[in-house]
Symmetry: C2
Subunit: 257 residues, 2 copies
């Protein structure tokens, strides 16, 4: 290619996370990388955008060099601000990640990582989200980052249809332990979450959310199942939430009559 590729990177774990660092190091070998990421951890923010207060942007240095822009907002804010304002020319690709922890099944709708890539797609840029499916504190992002580099080139070359993004989940394994790549569907698994009530030193009650994903899917082509089989999962995602099957049924309701 004549012109150097341009890639926008964001995430939801924050600009100082290890996952975004590993991703950027790999992508810099193939493209100019612009980093616009949240100042702080933004997990489970869903597709939140900030509308009731303005956003602040801070230039972040790492190892004595300019590293990227930290935004005091959500992942979707970061991508919107990058493409609408900070970048003089639209990037060829948006990559969000590498998230620390999986984004499969119903978690897709809670995911800040997915939402950054969603925002890229809404703004007309091919985009993917990438997550390492381990919640352990000490994880190795190196293979996930290497895969992301190869995949980035493939997505740029192939392009994506308008309104479609890709949600990639990678098991925390070495290249030779990975058992393959599966094109998957979003699973139906949900969280069995509950709240743990505690009392603060002043005896006032507060509630911690806790829970785990309940596996409801057995099929091999489900995102969460691929991960359990030590495979990389790639799910194409779109944002028309209309339940088309339900439309005819609703027409029979004679609503308001």
């Amino acid at each position: 290619m004549d012109k150097k590729l341009s890639i926008l990177v964001s995430n939801d774990d924050g600009i100082f996370s290890d996952g975004i660092g590993a991703l950027i190091r790999e992508l810099q070998t193939i493209a100019d990388v612009t980093v616009v990421a949240p100042e702080t951890q933004q997990s489970a923010v869903g597709h939140a955008i900030t509308v009731h207060r303005p956003l602040r942007v801070r230039e972040v240095q790492k190892d004595g060099k300019f590293f990227g822009f930290a935004v005091d907002g959500t992942p979707a804010d970061c991508v919107k601000l990058a493409i609408r304002h900070l970048m003089p020319v639209k990037p060829d690709l948006v990559v969000s990640g590498i998230n620390h922890g999986s984004n499969t099944a119903i978690s897709v709708i809670y995911s800040g990582t997915v939402s950054a890539a969603t925002e890229g797609t809404i703004l007309g840029i091919p985009s993917f989200a990438v997550s390492l499916t381990s919640f352990e504190s000490n994880v190795d992002y190196s293979y996930a980052a290497k895969f992301s580099r190869t995949f980035a080139l493939q997505v740029i070359e192939r392009g994506l249809p308008n309104g479609t993004m890709l949600n990639v989940n990678i098991p925390p394994l070495s290249e030779k332990e990975i058992q393959g790549i599966v094109i998957t569907r979003q699973g139906k698994s949900v969280w069995n979450d509950e709240f743990e009530a505690r009392r603060d030193p002043g005896n006032r009650q507060y509630f911690w959310l806790k829970g785990e994903l309940v596996e409801l899917d057995e099929e091999e082509d489900i995102d969460q199942r691929a991960i359990l089989n030590n495979k990389i999962s790639v799910t194409p995602i779109q944002f028309d939430l209309t339940d088309y099957k339900m439309i005819e049924q609703l027409k029979g309701w004679k609503i308001g009559k």
Copy 2:
């Protein structure tokens, strides 16, 4: 019916908003209403949930009587906390609203109002979101509230399939000005948003998001189009975001090879 109906009400404009007040007054004529809503305005929070800090709950009085529970979290937090913890028995229905402003087209994925109903659906309760499609400061919620009461009875009687919720948008008109009810699809319209850069008194820059929805849909059965035609829009919504058409195409990519 023998047993009195139980309805959970939440919203994203906050527990003190006029829209939730009007909705509750109407629903109390048909059911026991439990109110669990955000302490503060939560517009555009998407399907955010709070995982990095605990939640606080405060009992709110209105006119000298217990009114409901205010939560220092998002709409999805409110519904999750209500169903998983605060309510001894699951409600028959979750209603989120009445939102001040429309939730159509791409705004569905940014909407806190929709996310409260989504969370009800995820937890297995029939749920709908209702929005009054006016951003004027002084709006009349009375017809929207009255419609919501009739519709609530209909949704409880008919039931909804697992994983499907209903997104209702109502024009800010009187009953006789409303031109009918349309079962709609989510529109493709997007925001032409941009950021306005300003400087604070200390000369530091900050960015305000602004923009408007660009109408891209002409068909009569699109949510946003129904509103422009002075009709009530009812869109069935589901949360499997998989782009099924894209799956076969991706299989041909030979990813990672």
